[in-house]
Protein backbone atom coordinates (compact mmCIF):
# COMPACT_ATOMS: atom_id res chain seq x y z
CA UNK A 1 0.00 0.00 0.00
CA UNK A 2 1.49 3.28 -1.17
CA UNK A 3 0.52 6.82 -0.25
CA UNK A 4 1.51 10.08 -1.91
CA UNK A 5 0.75 13.00 0.39
CA UNK A 6 0.88 16.54 -0.94
CA UNK A 7 0.51 19.17 1.78
CA UNK A 8 0.09 22.92 1.25
CA UNK A 9 2.38 22.89 -1.78
CA UNK A 10 3.48 26.27 -3.12
CA UNK A 11 5.50 26.38 -6.35
CA UNK A 12 6.95 29.28 -8.33
CA UNK A 13 8.46 29.47 -11.77
CA UNK A 14 11.31 31.77 -12.79
CA UNK A 15 10.30 34.20 -15.52
CA UNK A 16 12.17 37.14 -17.04
CA UNK A 17 9.86 39.36 -14.97
CA UNK A 18 10.88 37.54 -11.79
CA UNK A 19 9.46 34.86 -9.56
CA UNK A 20 5.90 33.92 -10.49
CA UNK A 21 3.83 31.85 -8.02
CA UNK A 22 1.77 29.14 -9.78
CA UNK A 23 0.71 26.65 -7.10
CA UNK A 24 -0.84 28.30 -4.06
CA UNK A 25 -1.41 25.62 -1.46
CA UNK A 26 -2.21 22.22 -2.99
CA UNK A 27 -3.49 19.45 -0.71
CA UNK A 28 -3.98 16.00 -2.17
CA UNK A 29 -3.55 12.39 -1.05
CA UNK A 30 -3.34 9.50 -3.50
CA UNK A 31 -3.24 5.84 -2.51
CA UNK A 32 -2.63 2.56 -4.33
CA UNK A 33 -5.35 1.41 -6.70
CA UNK A 34 -6.96 4.84 -6.64
CA UNK A 35 -7.53 7.03 -9.67
CA UNK A 36 -7.74 10.77 -9.10
CA UNK A 37 -8.79 12.98 -11.97
CA UNK A 38 -7.37 16.50 -11.81
CA UNK A 39 -9.49 18.73 -13.99
CA UNK A 40 -9.40 22.41 -14.63
CA UNK A 41 -9.10 25.19 -17.13
CA UNK A 42 -5.89 25.99 -19.01
CA UNK A 43 -3.36 27.86 -16.93
CA UNK A 44 -4.72 26.63 -13.60
CA UNK A 45 -1.42 24.96 -12.71
CA UNK A 46 -2.21 21.29 -13.43
CA UNK A 47 0.96 20.68 -15.43
CA UNK A 48 3.04 22.65 -12.93
CA UNK A 49 1.85 20.21 -10.26
CA UNK A 50 2.90 17.25 -12.43
CA UNK A 51 6.35 18.62 -13.29
CA UNK A 52 7.17 19.85 -9.80
CA UNK A 53 6.34 16.43 -8.35
CA UNK A 54 8.74 14.88 -10.89
CA UNK A 55 11.39 17.47 -10.01
CA UNK A 56 11.77 19.55 -13.17
CA UNK A 57 14.46 22.18 -12.48
CA UNK A 58 12.33 24.99 -13.91
CA UNK A 59 9.96 24.85 -10.93
CA UNK A 60 10.85 25.95 -7.42
CA UNK A 61 9.00 24.70 -4.38
CA UNK A 62 8.64 27.64 -1.99
CA UNK A 63 6.77 25.83 0.78
CA UNK A 64 4.82 22.71 1.63
CA UNK A 65 5.71 19.04 1.62
CA UNK A 66 5.34 15.92 -0.51
CA UNK A 67 5.77 12.51 1.09
CA UNK A 68 5.87 9.21 -0.77
CA UNK A 69 5.31 6.47 1.81
CA UNK A 70 6.66 8.87 4.42
CA UNK A 71 9.82 9.73 2.44
CA UNK A 72 10.51 13.35 1.55
CA UNK A 73 10.08 13.34 -2.24
CA UNK A 74 11.17 16.98 -2.59
CA UNK A 75 14.63 16.17 -1.18
CA UNK A 76 15.27 13.65 -3.95
CA UNK A 77 16.83 14.17 -7.39
CA UNK A 78 14.68 13.55 -10.46
CA UNK A 79 16.04 10.02 -10.94
CA UNK A 80 15.75 9.17 -7.24
CA UNK A 81 12.05 10.07 -7.38
CA UNK A 82 11.56 7.70 -10.29
CA UNK A 83 13.43 4.95 -8.48
CA UNK A 84 11.24 5.59 -5.42
CA UNK A 85 8.24 4.69 -7.59
CA UNK A 86 7.03 7.92 -9.19
CA UNK A 87 6.27 8.08 -12.90
CA UNK A 88 5.28 11.04 -15.06
CA UNK A 89 3.71 10.51 -18.48
CA UNK A 90 4.52 13.82 -20.11
CA UNK A 91 2.27 15.96 -22.23
CA UNK A 92 5.17 16.62 -24.60
CA UNK A 93 7.54 13.63 -24.49
CA UNK A 94 11.12 14.54 -25.39
CA UNK A 95 12.96 13.21 -28.45
CA UNK A 96 16.35 11.63 -27.72
CA UNK A 97 18.09 11.19 -31.08
CA UNK A 98 20.53 8.31 -31.32
CA UNK A 99 19.30 6.44 -28.24
CA UNK A 100 17.24 3.46 -29.37
CA UNK A 101 13.93 2.69 -27.72
CA UNK A 102 15.19 -0.79 -26.81
CA UNK A 103 18.32 0.56 -25.12
CA UNK A 104 16.32 3.27 -23.35
CA UNK A 105 13.70 0.86 -21.98
CA UNK A 106 16.30 -1.62 -20.76
CA UNK A 107 18.45 1.12 -19.18
CA UNK A 108 15.43 2.63 -17.41
CA UNK A 109 14.19 -0.77 -16.19
CA UNK A 110 17.65 -1.61 -14.87
CA UNK A 111 17.86 1.74 -13.07
CA UNK A 112 14.38 1.52 -11.54
CA UNK A 113 14.63 -2.09 -10.37
CA UNK A 114 18.30 -1.85 -9.34
CA UNK A 115 19.37 -4.78 -11.55
CA UNK A 116 19.28 -5.75 -15.19
CA UNK A 117 16.10 -7.68 -16.04
CA UNK A 118 16.58 -11.34 -17.10
CA UNK A 119 17.05 -11.00 -20.82
CA UNK A 120 14.64 -13.56 -22.26
CA UNK A 121 11.77 -12.65 -19.93
CA UNK A 122 12.38 -8.96 -20.63
CA UNK A 123 12.29 -9.39 -24.41
CA UNK A 124 8.97 -11.22 -24.13
CA UNK A 125 7.54 -8.63 -21.76
CA UNK A 126 8.51 -5.71 -24.00
CA UNK A 127 7.16 -7.43 -27.10
CA UNK A 128 3.82 -8.16 -25.41
CA UNK A 129 3.46 -4.63 -24.04
CA UNK A 130 4.30 -3.13 -27.41
CA UNK A 131 1.81 -5.33 -29.18
CA UNK A 132 -0.93 -4.41 -26.72
CA UNK A 133 -0.25 -0.73 -27.41
CA UNK A 134 -0.28 -1.37 -31.19
CA UNK A 135 3.44 -0.66 -31.69
CA UNK A 136 5.23 -2.27 -34.59
CA UNK A 137 8.29 -4.17 -33.25
CA UNK A 138 10.56 -2.00 -35.45
CA UNK A 139 9.97 0.88 -33.01
CA UNK A 140 12.49 -0.79 -30.68
CA UNK A 141 15.28 0.12 -33.08
CA UNK A 142 14.15 3.71 -33.57
CA UNK A 143 15.44 6.63 -31.55
CA UNK A 144 13.30 7.48 -28.54
CA UNK A 145 10.30 9.54 -29.72
CA UNK A 146 12.19 10.80 -32.76
CA UNK A 147 9.83 11.16 -35.69
CA UNK A 148 7.00 9.61 -33.65
CA UNK A 149 3.51 11.00 -34.30
CA UNK A 150 1.72 12.72 -31.41
CA UNK A 151 -0.26 9.56 -30.71
CA UNK A 152 2.83 7.34 -30.85
CA UNK A 153 4.57 9.54 -28.31
CA UNK A 154 1.63 9.24 -25.92
CA UNK A 155 1.47 5.48 -26.36
CA UNK A 156 5.20 5.33 -25.72
CA UNK A 157 4.65 7.03 -22.35
CA UNK A 158 2.09 4.41 -21.37
CA UNK A 159 4.41 1.64 -22.63
CA UNK A 160 6.99 2.90 -20.15
CA UNK A 161 4.39 3.01 -17.39
CA UNK A 162 3.50 -0.63 -18.06
CA UNK A 163 7.13 -1.76 -18.10
CA UNK A 164 8.52 0.34 -15.24
CA UNK A 165 5.60 -0.49 -12.90
CA UNK A 166 5.53 2.67 -10.79
CA UNK A 167 3.73 2.98 -7.46
CA UNK A 168 2.30 6.36 -8.40
CA UNK A 169 1.74 7.42 -12.03
CA UNK A 170 0.99 10.99 -13.03
CA UNK A 171 -0.54 11.28 -16.49
CA UNK A 172 -0.29 14.84 -17.77
CA UNK A 173 -2.91 15.39 -20.48
CA UNK A 174 -2.17 11.99 -21.95
CA UNK A 175 -5.48 12.31 -23.82
CA UNK A 176 -4.65 15.53 -25.64
CA UNK A 177 -4.27 15.24 -29.39
CA UNK A 178 -5.53 11.64 -29.57
CA UNK A 179 -8.30 10.46 -31.84
CA UNK A 180 -10.93 8.16 -30.34
CA UNK A 181 -9.19 4.91 -31.33
CA UNK A 182 -5.81 6.01 -29.95
CA UNK A 183 -7.53 7.25 -26.80
CA UNK A 184 -9.05 3.82 -26.22
CA UNK A 185 -5.71 2.06 -26.75
CA UNK A 186 -3.98 4.40 -24.32
CA UNK A 187 -6.76 4.12 -21.72
CA UNK A 188 -6.69 0.33 -21.92
CA UNK A 189 -2.95 0.46 -21.32
CA UNK A 190 -3.39 2.59 -18.22
CA UNK A 191 -6.10 0.30 -16.87
CA UNK A 192 -3.98 -2.78 -17.58
CA UNK A 193 -0.94 -1.30 -15.86
CA UNK A 194 -2.97 -0.26 -12.85
CA UNK A 195 -4.65 -3.67 -12.58
CA UNK A 196 -1.26 -5.38 -12.74
CA UNK A 197 0.59 -3.19 -10.26
CA UNK A 198 -2.05 -1.48 -8.10
CA UNK A 199 -0.54 1.91 -8.93
CA UNK A 200 -2.17 5.09 -7.72
CA UNK A 201 -3.00 7.24 -10.74
CA UNK A 202 -3.19 11.03 -10.99
CA UNK A 203 -4.96 11.71 -14.26
CA UNK A 204 -4.59 15.32 -15.36
CA UNK A 205 -7.01 16.34 -18.07
CA UNK A 206 -8.84 19.27 -19.51
CA UNK A 207 -11.67 17.22 -20.97
CA UNK A 208 -13.98 14.55 -19.59
CA UNK A 209 -13.62 12.40 -22.70
CA UNK A 210 -10.93 10.10 -21.27
CA UNK A 211 -13.08 9.49 -18.18
CA UNK A 212 -15.38 7.40 -20.38
CA UNK A 213 -12.53 4.88 -20.49
CA UNK A 214 -10.75 5.39 -17.17
CA UNK A 215 -13.16 5.67 -14.28
CA UNK A 216 -11.92 8.02 -11.56
CA UNK A 217 -12.53 7.35 -7.89
CA UNK A 218 -12.13 11.04 -7.11
CA UNK A 219 -12.41 14.22 -9.13
CA UNK A 220 -10.57 17.40 -8.10
CA UNK A 221 -11.23 20.71 -9.79
CA UNK A 222 -8.08 22.77 -10.05
CA UNK A 223 -8.44 26.53 -10.30
CA UNK A 224 -5.81 29.23 -9.87
CA UNK A 225 -3.18 26.97 -8.39
CA UNK A 226 -5.23 25.02 -5.87
CA UNK A 227 -8.04 22.50 -5.51
CA UNK A 228 -11.31 24.43 -5.66
CA UNK A 229 -13.76 21.54 -5.39
CA UNK A 230 -13.65 17.80 -4.86
CA UNK A 231 -16.13 15.01 -5.45
CA UNK A 232 -16.80 11.64 -6.99
CA UNK A 233 -17.24 10.69 -10.66
CA UNK A 234 -20.52 12.65 -10.72
CA UNK A 235 -18.53 15.90 -10.43
CA UNK A 236 -16.96 15.16 -13.81
CA UNK A 237 -20.42 14.80 -15.32
CA UNK A 238 -21.37 18.20 -13.93
CA UNK A 239 -18.22 19.77 -15.38
CA UNK A 240 -19.08 18.21 -18.73
CA UNK A 241 -22.47 19.92 -18.64
CA UNK A 242 -21.50 23.24 -17.05
CA UNK A 243 -17.85 23.80 -17.99
CA UNK A 244 -15.43 25.70 -15.75
CA UNK A 245 -17.16 29.09 -15.94
CA UNK A 246 -18.68 28.73 -12.51
CA UNK A 247 -15.19 28.55 -10.96
CA UNK A 248 -13.63 31.23 -13.11
CA UNK A 249 -16.28 33.85 -12.40
CA UNK A 250 -15.89 33.20 -8.69
CA UNK A 251 -12.13 33.74 -8.93
Amino acid sequence: MTTLEIRDLHVSVDTPEGDKPILKGVDLTIGSNQTHAIMGPNGSGKSTLAYSLAGHPKYRVTSGSVLLDGQDLLAMTVDERARAGLFLAMQYPVEVPGVTEANFLRTAKTAVSGQAPPLRAWIKEVAAAMEALRFDPEFQERSVNEGFSGGEKKRNEILQMELLKPKIAILDETDSGLDVDALRVVAEGVNRAQAATGAGVMLITHYTRILDYITPDFVHVFVAGRVAEEGGPDLAARLEAEGYDRFLSAD
Binding site: L88, V94, A108
Partner: protein, 386 residues
Protein backbone atom coordinates in the same frame (compact mmCIF):
# COMPACT_ATOMS: atom_id res chain seq x y z
CA UNK B 1 43.05 41.01 -37.14
CA UNK B 2 40.51 41.21 -39.91
CA UNK B 3 38.56 38.68 -41.88
CA UNK B 4 40.61 37.22 -44.70
CA UNK B 5 38.91 38.39 -47.89
CA UNK B 6 41.32 36.67 -50.26
CA UNK B 7 40.21 33.48 -51.97
CA UNK B 8 41.30 30.31 -50.24
CA UNK B 9 42.72 29.25 -53.59
CA UNK B 10 45.33 32.01 -53.55
CA UNK B 11 46.86 31.09 -50.20
CA UNK B 12 50.55 30.18 -50.34
CA UNK B 13 51.42 26.53 -50.78
CA UNK B 14 55.02 25.44 -51.17
CA UNK B 15 57.50 22.60 -50.56
CA UNK B 16 60.13 25.17 -49.57
CA UNK B 17 60.22 25.98 -45.85
CA UNK B 18 61.85 29.35 -46.49
CA UNK B 19 58.82 30.51 -48.46
CA UNK B 20 56.84 30.65 -45.21
CA UNK B 21 57.62 33.42 -42.72
CA UNK B 22 57.49 32.59 -39.02
CA UNK B 23 53.83 32.76 -37.99
CA UNK B 24 52.90 35.38 -35.44
CA UNK B 25 49.49 33.93 -34.58
CA UNK B 26 47.64 36.72 -36.36
CA UNK B 27 47.50 34.97 -39.73
CA UNK B 28 44.19 33.49 -40.85
CA UNK B 29 45.54 29.93 -40.66
CA UNK B 30 47.12 30.47 -37.24
CA UNK B 31 44.70 32.70 -35.42
CA UNK B 32 43.01 29.90 -33.46
CA UNK B 33 46.21 27.98 -32.62
CA UNK B 34 48.49 28.47 -29.58
CA UNK B 35 51.49 29.02 -31.90
CA UNK B 36 53.99 29.14 -29.02
CA UNK B 37 53.31 25.47 -28.23
CA UNK B 38 54.32 24.57 -31.80
CA UNK B 39 57.33 26.92 -32.05
CA UNK B 40 59.88 24.06 -31.93
CA UNK B 41 58.16 22.40 -34.86
CA UNK B 42 58.56 25.39 -37.19
CA UNK B 43 62.34 25.00 -37.52
CA UNK B 44 64.49 23.12 -40.03
CA UNK B 45 66.45 20.87 -37.69
CA UNK B 46 63.85 18.34 -36.59
CA UNK B 47 64.74 14.83 -35.51
CA UNK B 48 63.20 11.59 -36.73
CA UNK B 49 62.43 10.24 -33.29
CA UNK B 50 59.02 8.59 -33.43
CA UNK B 51 58.76 4.95 -34.39
CA UNK B 52 56.64 3.76 -37.28
CA UNK B 53 55.43 0.16 -37.39
CA UNK B 54 53.29 -1.21 -40.14
CA UNK B 55 51.16 -4.27 -39.77
CA UNK B 56 49.02 -5.38 -42.57
CA UNK B 57 47.54 -8.02 -44.72
CA UNK B 58 50.13 -10.22 -46.33
CA UNK B 59 48.34 -10.50 -49.64
CA UNK B 60 49.36 -8.94 -52.90
CA UNK B 61 47.05 -5.95 -52.46
CA UNK B 62 49.44 -3.84 -50.38
CA UNK B 63 53.14 -3.04 -50.51
CA UNK B 64 54.89 -1.28 -47.62
CA UNK B 65 58.40 0.16 -47.96
CA UNK B 66 60.64 2.88 -46.60
CA UNK B 67 61.83 5.07 -49.46
CA UNK B 68 63.84 8.23 -49.99
CA UNK B 69 62.11 11.51 -50.53
CA UNK B 70 63.25 11.42 -54.17
CA UNK B 71 61.20 8.28 -54.83
CA UNK B 72 58.78 8.90 -57.72
CA UNK B 73 55.76 8.06 -55.53
CA UNK B 74 56.63 10.75 -53.00
CA UNK B 75 55.65 14.41 -53.39
CA UNK B 76 52.65 13.81 -55.66
CA UNK B 77 50.10 15.39 -53.32
CA UNK B 78 49.42 19.15 -53.14
CA UNK B 79 52.20 21.26 -51.57
CA UNK B 80 52.25 22.08 -47.84
CA UNK B 81 49.96 24.95 -46.93
CA UNK B 82 51.71 26.34 -43.89
CA UNK B 83 55.11 26.47 -42.22
CA UNK B 84 54.62 23.58 -39.83
CA UNK B 85 53.70 21.30 -42.75
CA UNK B 86 56.65 22.57 -44.80
CA UNK B 87 58.95 21.85 -41.83
CA UNK B 88 57.78 18.22 -41.81
CA UNK B 89 58.58 17.96 -45.51
CA UNK B 90 61.96 19.68 -45.12
CA UNK B 91 63.05 17.29 -42.39
CA UNK B 92 61.84 14.10 -44.04
CA UNK B 93 64.79 12.36 -45.69
CA UNK B 94 62.78 9.20 -45.99
CA UNK B 95 59.16 8.22 -45.91
CA UNK B 96 57.03 5.20 -45.15
CA UNK B 97 55.16 4.44 -48.35
CA UNK B 98 52.02 2.30 -48.35
CA UNK B 99 50.99 1.35 -51.89
CA UNK B 100 47.60 -0.15 -52.58
CA UNK B 101 48.28 -2.00 -55.78
CA UNK B 102 46.50 -1.44 -59.07
CA UNK B 103 43.24 -3.25 -59.57
CA UNK B 104 43.56 -5.18 -56.28
CA UNK B 105 40.88 -5.42 -53.64
CA UNK B 106 42.37 -5.75 -50.16
CA UNK B 107 39.83 -6.73 -47.49
CA UNK B 108 42.19 -6.52 -44.51
CA UNK B 109 43.25 -3.32 -42.79
CA UNK B 110 46.79 -2.00 -43.10
CA UNK B 111 47.65 -0.54 -39.71
CA UNK B 112 50.37 2.11 -39.49
CA UNK B 113 51.39 2.65 -35.87
CA UNK B 114 53.10 5.93 -35.07
CA UNK B 115 54.55 5.52 -31.60
CA UNK B 116 56.02 8.24 -29.44
CA UNK B 117 58.22 7.77 -26.43
CA UNK B 118 57.13 6.01 -23.25
CA UNK B 119 57.24 9.32 -21.37
CA UNK B 120 60.35 8.58 -19.30
CA UNK B 121 62.14 11.41 -21.09
CA UNK B 122 60.70 14.53 -22.69
CA UNK B 123 59.76 14.15 -26.34
CA UNK B 124 62.15 15.84 -28.77
CA UNK B 125 60.75 17.95 -31.63
CA UNK B 126 60.41 15.48 -34.50
CA UNK B 127 59.21 15.17 -38.05
CA UNK B 128 57.68 12.30 -39.97
CA UNK B 129 56.46 11.72 -43.50
CA UNK B 130 53.96 9.05 -44.57
CA UNK B 131 52.59 8.43 -48.02
CA UNK B 132 49.60 6.41 -49.12
CA UNK B 133 49.36 5.75 -52.84
CA UNK B 134 46.26 4.05 -54.19
CA UNK B 135 46.98 2.90 -57.72
CA UNK B 136 44.28 2.82 -60.37
CA UNK B 137 41.26 0.81 -59.28
CA UNK B 138 42.78 -0.21 -55.91
CA UNK B 139 40.55 -0.84 -52.92
CA UNK B 140 41.56 -1.06 -49.28
CA UNK B 141 41.68 0.48 -45.82
CA UNK B 142 44.60 2.12 -44.02
CA UNK B 143 44.42 2.90 -40.31
CA UNK B 144 46.92 5.35 -38.80
CA UNK B 145 47.27 5.05 -35.02
CA UNK B 146 49.13 7.58 -32.89
CA UNK B 147 50.08 6.70 -29.31
CA UNK B 148 52.72 7.50 -26.73
CA UNK B 149 54.31 10.86 -25.96
CA UNK B 150 55.34 12.94 -28.95
CA UNK B 151 56.23 16.41 -30.11
CA UNK B 152 55.71 15.96 -33.80
CA UNK B 153 55.01 17.57 -37.11
CA UNK B 154 53.75 14.98 -39.55
CA UNK B 155 53.06 15.03 -43.26
CA UNK B 156 50.64 12.49 -44.69
CA UNK B 157 50.21 12.47 -48.44
CA UNK B 158 47.35 10.49 -49.87
CA UNK B 159 47.13 10.10 -53.62
CA UNK B 160 44.34 8.25 -55.38
CA UNK B 161 44.75 7.31 -59.00
CA UNK B 162 41.85 6.87 -61.36
CA UNK B 163 38.99 4.81 -59.99
CA UNK B 164 40.72 3.96 -56.68
CA UNK B 165 38.32 3.58 -53.74
CA UNK B 166 39.95 3.59 -50.31
CA UNK B 167 39.37 4.43 -46.66
CA UNK B 168 41.97 6.19 -44.51
CA UNK B 169 41.33 6.55 -40.78
CA UNK B 170 43.66 8.50 -38.50
CA UNK B 171 43.23 8.05 -34.75
CA UNK B 172 45.10 10.46 -32.49
CA UNK B 173 45.22 8.90 -29.05
CA UNK B 174 48.44 10.46 -27.79
CA UNK B 175 49.53 10.48 -24.18
CA UNK B 176 48.83 13.60 -22.12
CA UNK B 177 51.11 16.49 -22.96
CA UNK B 178 51.76 15.41 -26.55
CA UNK B 179 51.84 18.04 -29.28
CA UNK B 180 51.19 17.22 -32.91
CA UNK B 181 50.72 19.11 -36.14
CA UNK B 182 49.54 16.84 -38.93
CA UNK B 183 49.18 17.89 -42.54
CA UNK B 184 47.06 15.55 -44.61
CA UNK B 185 47.49 16.46 -48.26
CA UNK B 186 45.21 14.59 -50.60
CA UNK B 187 44.76 14.42 -54.35
CA UNK B 188 41.97 12.46 -56.05
CA UNK B 189 42.08 11.58 -59.75
CA UNK B 190 39.11 10.88 -61.99
CA UNK B 191 36.34 8.75 -60.46
CA UNK B 192 38.38 8.04 -57.33
CA UNK B 193 36.60 7.81 -53.98
CA UNK B 194 38.16 8.46 -50.57
CA UNK B 195 36.61 8.05 -47.18
CA UNK B 196 38.85 9.97 -44.83
CA UNK B 197 38.28 10.08 -41.09
CA UNK B 198 40.16 11.66 -38.21
CA UNK B 199 39.52 10.91 -34.55
CA UNK B 200 41.19 13.22 -32.00
CA UNK B 201 41.09 11.95 -28.44
CA UNK B 202 44.45 12.50 -26.73
CA UNK B 203 47.33 14.95 -26.54
CA UNK B 204 47.58 18.50 -25.29
CA UNK B 205 47.46 19.94 -28.81
CA UNK B 206 46.49 18.22 -32.04
CA UNK B 207 46.30 20.50 -35.06
CA UNK B 208 45.18 18.85 -38.28
CA UNK B 209 45.28 20.60 -41.62
CA UNK B 210 43.55 18.65 -44.33
CA UNK B 211 43.80 19.65 -47.98
CA UNK B 212 41.63 17.68 -50.36
CA UNK B 213 42.10 18.39 -54.04
CA UNK B 214 39.37 16.86 -56.18
CA UNK B 215 41.55 16.98 -59.27
CA UNK B 216 39.80 14.62 -61.70
CA UNK B 217 36.21 14.65 -62.92
CA UNK B 218 33.79 12.47 -60.97
CA UNK B 219 35.99 12.22 -57.86
CA UNK B 220 34.17 11.78 -54.56
CA UNK B 221 35.17 12.52 -50.97
CA UNK B 222 33.70 11.70 -47.58
CA UNK B 223 35.63 13.59 -44.91
CA UNK B 224 34.58 12.66 -41.39
CA UNK B 225 35.89 13.72 -38.00
CA UNK B 226 35.38 13.19 -34.30
CA UNK B 227 36.97 14.97 -31.38
CA UNK B 228 36.45 14.24 -27.71
CA UNK B 229 38.20 17.07 -25.95
CA UNK B 230 38.79 17.41 -22.24
CA UNK B 231 39.97 20.31 -20.13
CA UNK B 232 43.46 21.45 -21.12
CA UNK B 233 43.27 19.90 -24.59
CA UNK B 234 43.21 21.78 -27.89
CA UNK B 235 41.90 19.86 -30.91
CA UNK B 236 41.86 21.66 -34.21
CA UNK B 237 40.91 20.65 -37.74
CA UNK B 238 41.34 22.99 -40.70
CA UNK B 239 39.88 21.61 -43.91
CA UNK B 240 40.27 22.82 -47.44
CA UNK B 241 38.10 21.01 -49.96
CA UNK B 242 39.22 22.14 -53.39
CA UNK B 243 36.74 21.30 -56.14
CA UNK B 244 39.08 21.66 -59.12
CA UNK B 245 37.30 19.42 -61.62
CA UNK B 246 33.78 18.89 -62.92
CA UNK B 247 31.12 16.62 -61.43
CA UNK B 248 32.85 15.91 -58.13
CA UNK B 249 31.07 15.23 -54.86
CA UNK B 250 32.16 16.02 -51.30
CA UNK B 251 30.53 15.38 -47.94
CA UNK B 252 32.13 16.70 -44.77
CA UNK B 253 30.81 15.78 -41.31
CA UNK B 254 32.74 16.63 -38.13
CA UNK B 255 31.43 16.32 -34.60
CA UNK B 256 33.07 17.25 -31.33
CA UNK B 257 32.28 16.89 -27.65
CA UNK B 258 33.90 19.24 -25.16
CA UNK B 259 34.01 17.63 -21.77
CA UNK B 260 35.87 19.92 -19.39
CA UNK B 261 35.97 23.60 -18.51
CA UNK B 262 39.17 24.44 -20.43
CA UNK B 263 38.47 22.19 -23.41
CA UNK B 264 39.09 23.92 -26.72
CA UNK B 265 38.21 22.86 -30.24
CA UNK B 266 38.47 24.54 -33.62
CA UNK B 267 36.91 23.48 -36.88
CA UNK B 268 37.45 25.42 -40.09
CA UNK B 269 35.82 24.14 -43.25
CA UNK B 270 36.89 25.95 -46.41
CA UNK B 271 35.21 24.72 -49.58
CA UNK B 272 36.21 26.20 -52.91
CA UNK B 273 34.29 25.46 -56.10
CA UNK B 274 36.50 26.61 -58.94
CA UNK B 275 35.02 27.96 -62.16
CA UNK B 276 35.81 24.74 -64.03
CA UNK B 277 34.13 22.58 -61.35
CA UNK B 278 30.70 22.49 -62.95
CA UNK B 279 28.29 19.91 -61.61
CA UNK B 280 29.77 20.07 -58.09
CA UNK B 281 27.74 18.58 -55.25
CA UNK B 282 29.05 19.53 -51.79
CA UNK B 283 27.80 19.69 -48.24
CA UNK B 284 29.66 20.22 -44.99
CA UNK B 285 28.51 19.92 -41.43
CA UNK B 286 30.07 20.61 -38.06
CA UNK B 287 28.35 20.01 -34.72
CA UNK B 288 29.73 20.52 -31.27
CA UNK B 289 28.30 19.43 -27.96
CA UNK B 290 29.51 21.52 -25.04
CA UNK B 291 29.21 19.65 -21.75
CA UNK B 292 30.97 22.08 -19.48
CA UNK B 293 30.90 25.78 -18.74
CA UNK B 294 34.07 27.53 -19.91
CA UNK B 295 34.75 25.12 -22.79
CA UNK B 296 34.99 26.74 -26.19
CA UNK B 297 34.32 25.44 -29.70
CA UNK B 298 34.99 27.61 -32.74
CA UNK B 299 33.28 26.55 -35.94
CA UNK B 300 33.97 28.41 -39.17
CA UNK B 301 32.39 27.09 -42.37
CA UNK B 302 33.33 28.94 -45.54
CA UNK B 303 32.03 28.34 -49.03
CA UNK B 304 33.43 30.03 -52.16
CA UNK B 305 31.63 29.41 -55.42
CA UNK B 306 33.13 30.52 -58.73
CA UNK B 307 30.52 28.92 -60.99
CA UNK B 308 26.75 28.85 -60.91
CA UNK B 309 26.61 25.54 -62.76
CA UNK B 310 26.54 23.27 -59.72
CA UNK B 311 24.23 20.61 -58.34
CA UNK B 312 24.33 21.82 -54.77
CA UNK B 313 26.46 23.47 -52.12
CA UNK B 314 25.57 23.84 -48.49
CA UNK B 315 26.88 23.95 -44.98
CA UNK B 316 25.59 23.64 -41.45
CA UNK B 317 27.29 24.47 -38.20
CA UNK B 318 25.87 24.29 -34.72
CA UNK B 319 27.32 24.36 -31.25
CA UNK B 320 24.91 23.39 -28.51
CA UNK B 321 24.89 22.89 -24.81
CA UNK B 322 23.73 19.65 -23.35
CA UNK B 323 19.94 19.52 -23.73
CA UNK B 324 18.44 19.83 -20.24
CA UNK B 325 15.05 18.54 -21.37
CA UNK B 326 16.62 15.31 -22.62
CA UNK B 327 18.42 14.98 -19.34
CA UNK B 328 15.17 15.52 -17.40
CA UNK B 329 13.32 12.99 -19.53
CA UNK B 330 15.92 10.27 -19.02
CA UNK B 331 16.28 11.01 -15.31
CA UNK B 332 12.50 10.94 -14.86
CA UNK B 333 12.75 7.28 -15.90
CA UNK B 334 15.16 6.57 -13.06
CA UNK B 335 18.37 6.87 -15.07
CA UNK B 336 21.08 8.62 -12.98
CA UNK B 337 22.45 11.91 -14.31
CA UNK B 338 25.93 10.67 -15.30
CA UNK B 339 24.49 7.69 -17.17
CA UNK B 340 21.93 9.92 -18.88
CA UNK B 341 24.70 12.27 -20.06
CA UNK B 342 26.76 9.36 -21.27
CA UNK B 343 23.79 7.96 -23.24
CA UNK B 344 23.25 11.29 -24.97
CA UNK B 345 26.94 11.76 -25.82
CA UNK B 346 27.21 8.24 -27.22
CA UNK B 347 24.10 8.91 -29.25
CA UNK B 348 25.67 12.13 -30.53
CA UNK B 349 28.56 10.17 -32.05
CA UNK B 350 26.84 6.87 -32.89
CA UNK B 351 25.81 7.65 -36.44
CA UNK B 352 29.20 9.12 -37.35
CA UNK B 353 31.06 6.12 -35.90
CA UNK B 354 28.81 3.85 -37.95
CA UNK B 355 29.70 5.90 -41.02
CA UNK B 356 33.44 5.71 -40.34
CA UNK B 357 33.53 2.07 -39.36
CA UNK B 358 32.73 0.28 -42.56
CA UNK B 359 34.47 -2.67 -41.05
CA UNK B 360 33.07 -4.10 -37.82
CA UNK B 361 36.46 -4.34 -36.13
CA UNK B 362 37.24 -0.66 -36.76
CA UNK B 363 33.80 0.41 -35.57
CA UNK B 364 34.20 -1.58 -32.37
CA UNK B 365 37.70 -0.21 -31.78
CA UNK B 366 36.51 3.36 -32.29
CA UNK B 367 33.53 2.87 -30.00
CA UNK B 368 35.83 1.48 -27.34
CA UNK B 369 38.30 4.36 -27.71
CA UNK B 370 35.56 6.99 -27.48
CA UNK B 371 33.83 5.14 -24.62
CA UNK B 372 37.02 4.86 -22.65
CA UNK B 373 37.65 8.59 -22.96
CA UNK B 374 34.08 9.38 -21.89
CA UNK B 375 34.23 6.91 -19.01
CA UNK B 376 37.42 8.46 -17.70
CA UNK B 377 35.49 11.68 -17.56
CA UNK B 378 32.46 10.33 -15.76
CA UNK B 379 34.61 8.48 -13.22
CA UNK B 380 36.45 11.72 -12.67
CA UNK B 381 33.16 13.56 -12.08
CA UNK B 382 31.88 10.92 -9.72
CA UNK B 383 35.04 11.10 -7.66
CA UNK B 384 34.76 14.86 -7.56
CA UNK B 385 31.14 14.82 -6.40
CA UNK B 386 31.81 12.35 -3.59
Amino acid sequence: MGIDTKSRGTRLASFDLTDFPMPTGREEEWRFTPVRDLADLLLDDLAAEVVVQVQGPLGSGVTVEVVGRDHPAIGLAPAPGDRVAAAAWAAAESATLVTLNAGKVEDGVTVVRVIGSDGSTPARPSALHLAILAKAGARGTVLLEHTGLAHLTQGVEIVLEEGADITVISVHDWADGSIQAASHRVRLAQDAHLKHAVVALGGALVRLTEQFELAGPGASLDALGINVTDSGQHHEAQLFVDHAAANCRSRVAYKGALLGPLARSVWIGDVLIRSRAEGTDTYELNRNLVLSKGARADSVPNLEIETGQILGAGHASATGRFDEEQLFYLQSRGIPEELARSLVVHAFFAELIDQIGVLGEIKDALKMAVDSKLDQRSNHNQRRSQ
